[in-house]
Structures are given as C-alpha cells and as structure tokens.
Amino acid sequence: MSNTISIRKGLNIRLVGEATKEIKEVPVSGTVGVSPIDFHGLTPKMVVKEGETVLVGDVLFFDKKKEQIKFVSPVSGKVKEIVRGEKRRIMNVLIEADGKQDAKKFTVKNVNDYSAEEMKSLLLESGFWSSMKQRPLDIVADPENKAKGLYVSSFDSAPLAPDYEFVLNDEMEAVQKGFDALSIIMDGKVHLSSKPSSSFTKIKGVTHHSFDGLHPAGNIGTQIHHIDPINKGEFVWSINIQEVAAIGKFLASGCVDASRKIALTGSEVESPAYLNVTRGTVMGSLVKDFVTGENVRYISGNVLTGDRKGLTEYLGHHHNQISVIPEGDEYKFFLTSGWLGHGFDKFSNSRLFPTFLLPKSKKFRLDTNTNGEERAFVVSGELERVFPFDILPVQLTKAAITNDIDGMENLGIYEVAPEDFALCEYVCTTKINIQEKIRQGLDLIASECM
C-alpha cells in the first residue's frame, strides 16, 4: 500500500441534509428516460422506433461516430416517445415501463476465460461501456484508443455525496469480479483510490492508492494528477465504482441490472436517505414522498456538478445522488442577508465571512442565489486555494475563454474536466461559469486537436 496523499487545497462545503444509512426501495413504474444529452458530444443513432417493445439491456441507440458504443434500456416496456429538440436533435428516449423488468439474456462465461477483445465487446454490447469516461475531453471512452490506465475512485468527496462503502457493503464480490473483468481489457494498470482504512483496500488485482483530505480528494481528476498525470497524446479511462459492481453482477447473471443506490440529500429533503432506484427514473417519483417545500431546486447529482431537473425530468445517467436545495430567487437586503450582512448564514471560503470562525460541525442551508453579479477577474489567489493541481486555474480559464488553443495545451487542458473546476467556480468572486468555459475549451480542443 502506497503512502496516503493528503489533499490540502480544497474545500468541504458543509451542507445540511446528509443521507442517513438506510435504503428505501423505489419500485420501477411509469416512464423512464434515457437521454443522449447525458453523454457529452454524443450523436446518437436510433435502433428502436416508437411503439417497439424492449427488454432490460436491449440497445436503444448507438454512437454514430463509434458504432460499437451501445446505449441500452434500463427497463422492460414499450418505447413511448423519442423526444427531439432543435434541429431534430434527440433529447430523450422515453420508455413506458411494464414493471416486470424482463431482461435480455447475454451468454456469459467465467471471467478468466475471456480475451481482452471478447470482454470489450461484451461490455460495449451490454451498454456498460457508456459509463466509461475518457480523459482528455471528459467524454465516453473511445474503445479503439490505448489507455495508459483505468482509474476508479472508491469514495466521493463532493458535498453530501453517497458513501460507497455503505452502498456496496454487501456487493464486494461483485466489485471484485468487476475489477477482474476490467483488468482483462486493460494493457495499462487499473488504479483504485480509496480512503485510508477503507474496505475497498482488500480488492485484489488492482494498484491501490490512498487519498484523504479536502474535496476534491475523491475526484478522479485529482487522483490521476497525483498518481500519474496525463500528457498530451495519452489517454486514461475512468469508471464509477457502482458501475464496476454492476459489471460484476452482470458477469455472474448474464442480465443487465440498471438499479443503482443513490443518495437523496439536501436541506429540503425531510428524511434524507438512500434509495434503490432504476436509472432514468422520473425525478418526481423519487422525491415526491420526501420534499414538501415549494420553490426548491432538484438536482440530479451533487450541488457542484449536477444537472438541474424538473419534476417531470429524469435521473441522469452518471449520477448517484439527488440534491434538493432552496431556490434563491429573491432580493436580499444588503445589511441583513445581502452583501454587507453579518454572513453567519453564508458558507464562504473567503475570510470576508465569519465561516472560518464557526465550528466545523456547523452545517449550512445554502440556496441557489449567486450572491452577487458577474464581474471581471479582480481578486487573485482565490481559485488556487481550492485547486489541488500543478495547473494555474485562472490562466487556464482565461485561455479557454479566449479560445487560445496553444495556451490551453500548454497550461494543461488535457488533464482536466469541467468538474475539476467546480470548486473554483463556487469560490470565485467573479461569478463566472467556469465549468462551462472549460467545457467550451475542451470542445474546441476536441474539434481542432484530437
């Protein structure tokens, strides 16, 4: 076991509404949605038509540019609608679930009997590959690339994030099996980063790393940077630990199981807990028994990187968490709760607010107000305090904003994903949407340099 890497540059945003360690079952019902939008840069090509019947694991659409990458149905039922947006872009594939969860049967054999190619095509065919992400660019991994490593984080350090040790407590065998399968397809190493003394350190056949400290210690980007940073021309892959477990289960049974345990969290949730749900379930059915307040924001994912969803929209593919926080769309008088207020109600990384004087146990109920208007970069040294990379965050962001390709390449765009900048965006006085700027920079790099 290697030495523990402690992340000191970062920030744990202490929010109210952590999930208690109990799991509530949410049966599959109604309509579920599979959205190509969840996979950045994907151009889908439909396989099914409206009205067709599908089983769990049946292919719904595939990637037009990389036809091997398939996207499958999480439920059995009937394709209800293919929702299209501007320029007929496919926004969502809606499936009316029949509740039976009949699954397509894949033929599986003993994990060790697979060759790398066989395993890869099995994962592609069964839709698991769609959860595999690639850096640079933070998109679905291209199976034709040679990756120098596969990175998995066994913990999530984001605000109110689910505790995978609890979630996967009785699925350790499946996790081990999943890792066995993934090792087969990898030429490079499989890296598993855990907290010190985590039960995931018992997993065999992987290279273990130990991380602790402040968020983003659990982010894959932080871990890659401290283990073996990405250089231009290299590729690394990463996948969520729950997906590894799901791959393990799939290889045991031959059936795709799209159920995931997610944490329902946030200050507006009455009794935050874990839910056992199916991917793509409509948000309303997940939160209806737990949220009574109006004027709240439903977020699929965590408060830093998640997507805003309406009650009739669907749980995002990559998300293992729902956060519900109050909307902040009201004026705040400057002396009471506005910009010149006492500030005990605000959580700030800046010592302009008394947050740093308060005990670490104090938790906050934060709303979506931006707490100020957008401005130019004035304050310096602010982003660097929450950015544990040997990368200059302001300079890289500015290069992204100005479409400076050379600048971005030199300053390390290949190593980062928008989520790495989430904390920067949170603390920044300018209120600029930094994650969006980085994503635009990555898109430019994708079209010009890859």
């Binding site: 926080i325 769309d329 004035v378 040294g381």
Partner: protein, 404 residues
C-alpha cells in the same frame, strides 16, 4: 419600479444607474444557471467595501493630523502639543479633507456612471476604493480642481480605456498621484504644500514664520543634508544630520504619524491596522506586504553599508515608517489587479517594489519620495514576472512529457 428600467421600459437608458442603486441595497435575485448550483457568499462589493473600511483608520488619523498641522501653522509654532484641542483639530482637518474626498468620489463616480451607461452595465465596484485612496495620497493644501482633474485622468486614461474594473494595467490612485506630480510639481512637493494654509501665509506674512519649516520628514532629510550640517566637520557631517533628523522626527512620532505629509500616508500605525484587516480577511496579500517591507529594509541596510551622507546613513527601519512607504505597501502594492497574480510572482513583485522605493527615495535627488513611482513601475513589470512563473509551469509539463 423595475419595469420602467428594463429593456423597452420608459427609462431604459438609466438602467445602469437604477441597477447600481438597486444592487447596492439588495443582493439581486439572480440564481445559478449552469455549473455549480450554489455559490460562495463573497462578491466584489463586499471585497471592495472591506478595503474602504481598512482605510478608515488612515482617514481618521489623516483628518486629525491635517488639523494639527493647520493649527500649528495658524499659531506659527511647529511644536504645539500633539494631543491637545483634539476636537478643534479634528474639525479643522475635516474642513480640509472632506471636500477632497467629496471631489474625488464625485468626479470619479460620475465618469464611471457615464461609461457604465455607454456600455450598458451597472457601476463596477473598483472605484469605491480608488475614490478613497486618491484623497489620502494628496497633500493637504492641494487645490480641489487638481483633485478633480487627476481623478478624471486616472479613471479615464488609467482604467476605462482598458475596459474598466479589473482591466487596468496600473494602479488608479497612483495614476492620479503621478499625474499631479508631473503636471503640477509645485503643488505636490516642496515644503509649502503639506500643511494647510502654510503656502499662503508664507507669501503674505513671511517674517512671522521665520524658521518655520513645512517640509515632510523626507523633505527635511534632504535639507538637513545640504545646509544644517555644514558647520560640522566633514567626518561627522552625516552622523550629525541623522542625529538632527531623529531629534526632529522621533521613531515613535514617525510610526504614529504625528508628522507632516500626504493626508493619509503619515501614520504607519494606521496603515498597519488597516493592513491587519486586509490580511485577516484575505483581501490584501500578506506575501506582497511582507516582501515589500523586506525589500525596503534590505535596500536600507545596503545603503547603510555604503554610507557617506545622511540619506545613506539613515537607519533602515526609519525608511519603513516615514513617507508613504507603509501606505504604499498595504494599500497600493496589494491591489490585486495590478500586482502579480501568481503566488511566487507576488513575492518577487513585493520585494522589488520595496527595494526600488527606497532606491529612488535615496539615490534620486529629484524625487524625495519613491514609493509611488516604484509601485507604478512594478505594476508595469508584474505581467512579465507572471509570464516567467507561468512559463515555468508550462516547462514542468513539457519536461514531464519528454521524460515519460
């Protein structure tokens, strides 16, 4: 009320003004749209306002100090007790300083509003600080029209043509100071401008004021060197001058700021109180402040080692407590827009700022004070310092690629 001011409303053109006032009174109801759903409480208004608060000790002390020296001039006695008739002195000071502050804010904010309306955005907060810094760098006797002219020059040429708050290359307040220094040198230096009323009195009533010097400590240092010590022999000359100087300006008086000088600069104590607030809140960079003092002190020591005239022999610590050194270190050099932005860069920037300030002060006879010139020079150099820091980061990455 709002509907009148939004696009298409009756007073659409006045929207920037409305928005400025509305967002001052109420944090707007803007919510996050993309990216993180929550945001830190901090914003530029609070940041800038904190600097204004940090300037208050300097302002209050400056008002009192101005009043004190005005009274000294009125009575024709440089040695009247410092802590007497405080109320009267404060009021006298207020009548001089307040108009300067009003003119600075009035002219600056008007110009900012005009640019805001042309560009269709509300007032950006940068001038809240500049508007306070400008009066504090002025001599007490400065004519108000000069303050207005300098402010206008600084805001338009120093800032707005570059795009406004956050875009300027050099410090706004120092631009105003430099403008006056070079355009109207007689009103900005010499020994008549630092005490209100002195110049006038000297002209009309010179006999009464025989032997009354209105110079600053730095101005006096120059004159001690040239005449007061000439009676002594060559060998003891410079020592005597330093002796005379420190009799006139005790370390404690200088540190507290009970000496003539620009309105807000004299009290190192007040600057350090403000500096403490800036460092605690994280608004001012401790790196810059400390390295600025270190640079000045080391230059002072170097000059002591050479020695030979009172300037060179003045104990190094004295340099840090007279003139505008502390004020520059705490409030001017730390301006985040014009300083270096990288952590290492800040140390280099601050060090050379202080180093050059003392170098100019001592080695250039034409400029009794070098702090503002040194900081302006380092403002211009800051991007170059940052360039090398950034290049070092890039090279680390390239090296990794080659060894990989």
């Amino acid at each position: 009320m709002e509907p009148h001011f939004i696009k298409g409303g009756k007073y659409e053109k006045w929207n920037p003004l409305f928005e400025t006032l509305a967002t001052f009174a109420f944090t707007p109801k803007l919510v996050t749209t993309k990216g993180t759903h929550i945001r830190d409480g901090v914003d530029l208004k609070r940041t800038m306002f904190t600097v204004v608060i940090a300037l208050i000790p300097c302002l209050i002390f400056g008002i009192y100090n101005t009043g004190h020296w005005e009274m000294a001039v009125a009575e024709g006695n440089r040695d009247i007790p410092y802590f007497a008739e405080m109320g009267a002195k404060f009021l006298m000071g207020l009548t001089i300083v307040l108009p300067v502050v009003v003119v600075s804010y009035g002219v600056g904010l008007t110009i900012e509003f005009i640019f805001g309306m042309l560009r269709g955005h509300s007032l950006h907060e940068g001038f809240l600080v500049s508007g306070m810094l400008i009066p504090l760098t002025m001599p007490a006797d400065v004519p108000l029209w000069m303050v207005g002219l300098a402010t206008a020059f600084a805001v338009i040429i120093g800032k707005e043509i570059f795009g406004g708050t956050g875009m300027n290359v050099v410090n706004i307040a120092l631009t105003a100071r430099a403008f006056l220094f070079f355009a109207y040198p007689t009103s900005m230096s010499g020994d008549k401008v630092w005490m209100s009323g002195l110049g006038e009195k000297m002209n009309t009533n010179a006999a009464d004021l025989d032997g009354f010097s209105g110079a600053t400590a730095l101005g006096d240092l120059a004159s001690f060197m040239s005449d007061k010590a000439t009676v002594a022999g060559e060998a003891v000359q410079s020592n005597m001058a330093v002796q005379n100087f420190s009799n006139e300006y005790g370390a404690w008086e200088s540190f507290m700021g009970m000496i003539p000088g620009s309105i807000g600069e004299t009290s190192t104590m007040a600057c350090l109180i403000g500096g403490l607030l800036l460092v605690i809140t994280g608004v001012g960079s401790l790196r810059i402040i400390l390295s600025f003092f270190a640079g000045g002190f080391i230059m002072g020591l170097l000059l002591n080692a050479i020695g030979g005239n009172p300037y060179l022999d003045l104990p190094a610590f004295y340099h840090l407590i007279i003139g505008g050194f502390a004020f520059g270190a705490v409030f001017m050099a730390t301006d985040p827009v014009t300083a270096s932005q990288t952590a290492t860069g800040k140390i280099i920037y601050g060090f050379f700022g202080g180093f050059l300030a003392i170098m100019i002060r001592v080695l250039n006879p034409a400029y009794p004070e070098g702090v503002f010139l040194a900081i302006l020079f380092m403002n211009v150099m800051a991007p170059i310092i940052d360039h090398y820091i950034i290049q070092a980061n890039i090279n680390r990455r390239l090296k990794r690629l080659k060894t990989a």
